[in-house]
Symmetry: C2
């Protein structure tokens, strides 16, 4: 299966490359591709740039569509052309997934109406405003609602990806990937701390 | 401080972008740059390509040098020109760090002789052979020996990075970054499972 990960200016690095690592390590089963509005380099919120190999308009029926978060989501929720492409790809995808505030983009595109979903716990108020018809879960590490899988913030995308690998290919492969990545998986009901009194970050992508 | 992360063909995605996320989120304190033998796109072991903004020869005295692992290390340990550049940069860096089999490159370059260090627990035999004068630690999540910080496999780079953020800028900033990334930090003595009987992965980058 091909995992088509959407990137855009100011995407969050770990939202993209955590899942890309997990799926990409199981290379006999999954192929990871980065896709964007246009082919070429795209700068992340943290600085480094990655290369989109295909444009959204080239994507027909995705196997697994993954929409990450990042500060760029704040402007993309007003980009109708982008949201129309997201909705079109989501309609035919076998699995529609998101990490962090990526679910705000899916919600604004109408993809999650009537579905259960989650997002970064530090950005939930803004995300929920993008999808009033979505049944938002404030607690889950990730949420599975049929073919719609949405994860909590940043690092949670790795747990969701391992759970999806487990669903599609079985527990042995997911366990092997986690072992070789020396990654300690979190269960679906794991809750991170959410202490807004912590300071020291400004303009930090998803957290503004 | 500038975090100069070295990339090369078949680098491991999470080795690079886990630390890049953690340092990059604290953007008032750290700037992340990707560097390589030549400026331009570099393909990871998992498929996606990132862009090196500067060449190794342009790097004078790095603040924080980070060397990731990945399947590409298997050929780079025979690339004398590359190893000479690594040794040159390491000599003047304030902190010399590695993730996963990146420590094999530091070891082969002679940078870790007489130092304590660690690496991916699934690749330790090969890594240890690259540096017989290194005091290898088979158990640690990461090892701190003065200005030399080396981490265990793949996901461990995030814990080492948060510990280094804590050392340089204090515990509040490190805790804020982990909170916003919804990341559950592992302590320095945390040991991952290491079950070589697990199967399902072939040619999976660092694990061969």
């Amino acid at each position: 299966m091909i995992v088509s990960i959407v990137i855009f200016p100011d995407f969050e690095l770990l939202d993209v490359f955590g899942p890309a690592e997990m799926f990409g390590m199981a290379r006999d089963h999954f192929t990871v591709e980065l896709v964007a509005s246009e082919v070429g380099p795209v700068a992340s919120s943290q600085g480094p740039s990655a290369i989109a190999e295909r444009s959204l308009s080239e994507i027909g029926e995705p196997d697994i569509l993954l929409v990450p978060g990042g500060f760029g989501t704040r402007t993309l929720v007003y980009n109708d052309g982008f949201l129309v492409e997201i909705a079109r790809m989501a309609e035919s995808a076998q699995f529609v997934t998101s990490v962090c505030t990526g679910s705000a983009l899916l919600a604004k595109a109408g993809v999650l109406d009537g579905k259960r979903a989650t997002s970064n716990k530090n950005a939930l108020d803004w995300v929920m405003a993008q999808g009033p018809q979505v049944e938002w879960d404030r607690g889950a590490r990730w949420v599975e609602d049929g073919r719609y899988w949405t994860s909590s913030g940043v690092s949670a995308g790795m747990d969701m990806s391992l759970a999806l690998i487990e669903k599609i290919e079985g527990p042995d492969l997911a366990r092997s990937v986690a072992t070789f990545a020396e990654y300690d998986r979190k269960p679906i009901d794991w809750q991170s701390t959410n202490d807004r009194s912590l300071s020291g970050l400004t303009q930090s992508g998803d957290t503004e």
